[in-house]
């Protein structure tokens, strides 16, 4: 295969990589983004949806707080289609330290975060679900952001400038010429085929995997992996983001995003960038903490749970004795390996927040441009992404579009209101590339509602078969893979409502549709499964 040449190769299809691709595109740089899975499958997709005002960092991490409020304002301007302007509240209860609100107000003022004190009555008039035990409450300009829409927006905008992307390709080798990285060898994770990309510079935005990439260049980047679990509740218990007004701890945010309310998070140090375990104590902890702010929420329907891994980084110069995740600053670092390690052609960005993804991209691309001799300044903060709508996203938009014929056709995913033509278009967008149902989930949210794919997964599988001309076995396997994936999300929450739903779904999949027989994984004579599907 003939090597392909680009100016810059961006590694990582998360928020930072996507924003960097867009930034490079606007500076007239020919760039290619490579992602080992689908876009938004790493930390950015395993996210709670909070566009920080910075209030959460106002006391302990003023730098991050300042970055957050500045970027919050910019993202509202340039990516309104992904943002719902819910506003945010910081709520202190009787259980929280009484001296904290005063420190916090000072911190916010210093960081430039506007706060407005409300009376508990005002707060409860706005959010009736809040506890009566409020001691102090402030309004801040938090918002909720759909990270899938945000990243797709950046990618689509970069494409309008001619930049390209390659998903399901993993970087297996960096190509050296002396002390300079000149390209990378990529492997197609689905076919095993390899290809070589030559680039004047590589931008390493691989999130928790940055040290793996840097390692390919023989450079050690010490990343701490901080795992956090989140739970999506079926209904929007609150319509304003609710933060606990206390020093950051487990389970102190409630984020209304889309049709759900996300409760988060925990902070557990782990050794692996892809450790997505959720331990039972995490589920209990999150629900109990949320219960203190919104009484009764524990008894509501928890839809799915997931975990993400925050890549935390502290430069070797910094001295911190405390190694726990929350103690590490949430700001980011751009590592110019030419200056630090004498290796040209590789720049790594690590740490940070989704809220600051644009700023991280800007500063990293500045270093990259310096190396490749591009002098064009960053212009990403200026205007709405090309091709995107300029209105804030709103919860009721999907219902409105469906009702007013803007999304015609049969309703396939009823919970998330996705129609057949939408699915067909999404499949077509992959061209001749393979498409998994889980890719369509990230594109369209199919299977993410209350029934967790119970009613739409087999319909979507059938459409995929029609459009792609798959064999029956391929279709059944795609269906089975999706069912397995969804099961991962409900497994930590199998009680009450979701247990009922799960049982109904199982009866549909396994009894009515005979999924285990269809995929050839189950031997009815031996009553065994060929693969460990039932973990």
């Amino acid at each position: 295969m003939t090597p392909q040449t680009v100016d810059v190769l961006v590694i990582g299809g998360g928020a930072t990589g996507a924003a960097a691709l867009y930034d490079l595109a606007r500076r007239g740089v020919r760039a290619l983004l490579v992602e080992q899975n689908d876009f938004t499958t790493g930390t950015s997709g395993r996210y709670h949806g909070l566009l920080h005002s910075g209030g959460r960092y106002a006391v302990r991490d003023p730098e991050t707080a300042q970055e957050c409020i500045a970027e919050n304002t910019i993202l509202r301007r340039i990516t309104p289609f992904a943002i719902e302007d819910t506003g945010g509240l910081f709520v202190a209860t009787l259980d929280d330290p009484a001296d904290f609100p005063a420190q916090w107000v000072t911190g916010c003022a210093a960081a430039g975060i506007p706060t407005e004190q409300l009376t508990p009555e005002q707060a409860r008039a706005q959010e009736p679900a809040l506890t009566p035990n409020i001691t102090a409450v402030y309004r801040v300009p938090d918002a909720s952001v759909d990270s899938f829409d945000l990243i797709h927006g950046f990618i689509a905008a970069a494409r309008t400038y001619g930049c390209k992307t390659l998903i399901y390709h993993r970087v297996t080798q960096l190509i050296h010429e002396g002390d300079t990285i000149v390209g990378a060898r990529l492997e197609d994770t689905r076919t095993g085929a390899t290809r070589i990309i030559h680039a004047a510079c590589i931008l390493n935005a691989a999130g928790p995997w940055v040290s793996v990439i840097a390692g390919l260049a023989g450079i050690a980047v010490e990343v701490k992996f901080d795992r956090g679990a989140m739970i999506a509740m079926n209904m929007r218990w609150v319509n304003t983001i609710v933060n606990r007004l206390r020093p950051a701890a487990d389970g102190d945010i409630l984020v209304p995003v889309g049709a759900v309310c996300v409760l988060g998070t925990t902070s557990v140090m782990t050794d692996h960038p892809d450790d997505y375990r959720i331990e039972p104590w995490e589920v209990s902890k999150i629900l109990n903490e949320a219960e203190a702010v919104v009484p009764g929420i524990r008894y509501g329907r928890a839809l799915r749970a997931w975990a993400g891994v925050r890549p935390l980084y502290e430069s070797p110069a910094a001295h911190h004795n405390d190694t726990a995740g929350r103690a590490v600053m949430r700001t980011f670092s751009v590592l110019d390996h030419a200056a630090l390690h004498g290796v040209r052609g590789l720049v790594t960005v690590v740490g940070g927040k989704l809220t600051t993804c644009r700023l991280m991209a800007e500063q990293t691309v500045d270093v990259v441009c310096q190396q490749i001799g591009v002098t064009a300044p960053c212009t990403t903060a200026r205007e709405v992404l090309p091709g995107a709508t300029t209105r804030y996203h709103r919860l009721d938009q999907r219902l409105h579009r469906l009702e007013h014929g803007e999304t015609p056709g049969e309703l396939i995913c009823e919970c998330e209101m996705v129609t057949r033509p939408q699915i067909e278009q999404a499949i077509a967008a992959y061209g001749d590339q393979p498409v998994a149902l889980d890719d369509l989930r990230r594109d369209l949210r199919i299977g993410m509602g209350p029934c967790q794919g119970g009613f739409c997964s087999y319909r979507a599988a059938a459409i995929l078969q029609e459009v792609k001309g798959h064999s029956a076995l391929e279709t059944n396997r795609a269906f089975a893979a999706f069912v397995r994936e969804r099961y991962q999300g409900v497994r930590p929450l199998l009680w009450g409502h979701q247990l009922r739903q799960f049982y109904l779904d199982e009866l549909i999949y396994r009894r009515t549709l005979g999924l285990d027989w269809l995929t050839g994984d189950y031997d009815p004579h031996e009553n065994v499964y060929a693969e460990g599907d039932h973990d």
Binding site: P132, D396, H404, E414
Partner: protein, 429 residues
């Protein structure tokens, strides 16, 4: 769990949390199966509910095609209050876009009944004119085929006042002998004989009947999304009735739909769940439910004259919503010779004011077709039904005479009232 939390989870909107998408409600919905204009109770109910912003206008107008019959709520195995969610969304729509002249008109039936009474002959004549109906359909979109009631020319309340004046009654020894009768608007102005028979039956049972001031139950306004008016009516009724409820005096009514409004909708649809509303709800009974209860307690005299008839019975959706079985059939079963059989159909189609609307009339007629077919197959001339609009609808679909079960009970007790010819007579012994 604190009371606050329990309260929130019990709110109608939060019952959408229980939906497993099983489609039982959609399969049972009488409207969804016959028109593509209504995507079904699950779709516009718990499903759409997740996508609605509280306080924001509901973007889905197809919800207007929900008839509000409540069968969805009844069949849901998980406790989703589907119809209630839909009605609240409709109200949100009305609050945003305002109420149409036609829906406003249909919501104020109580007013037209009262104001029209002195002009009954004129109105009754006028409304039977083809031209008048055609004009009403074109101008206000009230279907020319919809069954309109006849004004009686006098009001039940007027009759009662005169009755009390002419025949003063000794006050009972205790509140245990008192009963409050809620007549509803239809009985007051269109079918006063039902009220007169109900009073006769209650007095025959030795009860001291009280008929306090009352207004429209609010259901027509509620179904048309006018919650402001519905709540106004509801609050008035609660104020009129709460003292009786506090004294433990049962409140009984012959319109099963009015009674379901007081019993359930005030709380679950209109959101009035203060202690007074609950107290009134707890003491409210459908008339036949009350008789069935007395029978269970051994307090219902069963010295009925035989009625040798076989009659079809239709249980209105609003009656089913009480979740009390079929008390009318239980009581009518006690009458010797009388064999009432239940029509195998869910809804007659009228659903309060729904079937009066021009754009919905055809739907209402198709929904009611199975009833018409069974009544015709049985060659029945009389159909028994607990709710007025259902009776009018069945009459318009079948040409049969429709009666309230109290008419049979009164006959079997040998009770008669003035200006009333029983369509079914008991054999006097």
């Amino acid at each position: 769990m604190t009371d606050n939390a329990q309260h929130l989870i019990d709110l109608t909107a939060f019952t959408a949390d229980h939906c497993l998408k099983c489609n039982i409600c959609t399969a049972a919905c009488p409207v969804a199966s016959i028109t593509p204009l209504f995507p079904g109770p699950k779709t516009v109910g718990p499903q759409a509910q997740r996508m609605r912003l509280p306080g924001a206008p509901s973007p889905d107008h197809s919800i207007d095609y929900c008839s509000g019959c409540g069968i969805c709520t009844l069949v849901c195995p998980h406790g989703v209050r589907v119809m209630e969610i839909n009605t609240q969304a409709k109200a949100q729509m009305t609050a945003t876009h305002g109420i149409s002249l036609r829906n406003w008109f249909l919501s104020r039936n109580e007013r037209w009944g009262r104001l029209g009474t002195p002009f009954a002959p004129l109105i009754n004549f006028g409304l039977r004119l083809w031209l008048a109906r055609w004009f009403a359909e074109k101008a206000v979109k009230i279907s020319a085929r919809a069954p309109l009631p006849r004004w009686a020319g006098y009001t039940f309340r007027g009759w009662w006042k005169k009755q009390v004046r002419q025949h003063p009654r000794p006050a009972p020894a205790s509140d245990a002998q008192r009963v409050v009768y809620f007549h509803g608007c239809s009985t007051n102005t269109y079918e006063p004989h039902i009220g007169k028979l109900a009073v006769a039956v209650l007095e025959h049972l030795g009860l001291y009947v009280e008929i306090p001031p009352q207004t429209c139950c609010g259901l027509p306004a509620q179904s048309n999304g006018d919650f402001k008016a519905a709540r106004r009516y509801a609050r008035k009724n609660i104020a009129f009735l709460v003292d009786y409820a506090r004294r433990g005096i049962p409140i009984v009514g012959t319109s099963a739909s009015c009674m379901t409004a007081i019993k359930g909708d005030y709380q679950h649809v209109l959101g009035l769940d203060d202690p007074d509303a609950q107290l009134v709800a707890e003491h409210t009974y459908d008339f036949m439910e009350f008789l069935a209860k007395l029978h269970r307690e051994g307090k219902l005299p069963t010295d009925f004259h035989p009625i040798e008839r076989e009659l079809p019975y239709h249980a209105p959706c609003q009656l089913k919503a009480h979740g009390m079985g079929r008390p009318a059939l239980d009581v009518l079963d006690l009458i010797p010779g009388l064999r009432c059989w239940e029509i195998d159909a869910d809804c007659c189609g009228i659903a309060g004011t729904y079937g009066f609307k021009a754009e919905k009339r055809a739907i209402a007629e198709t929904v009611g077709k199975p009833i018409a077919e069974q009544v015709e197959a049985a060659s029945a001339e009389v159909v028994v039904c607990d709710t007025e609009t259902c009776r009018w609808q069945i009459t318009s679909l079948t040409n049969a005479t429709t009666i309230h079960p109290v008419e049979l009970v009164a006959q079997a007790y040998g009770l008669t009232v003035d200006r009333y010819t029983p369509p079914v007579t008991a054999r006097q012994m």
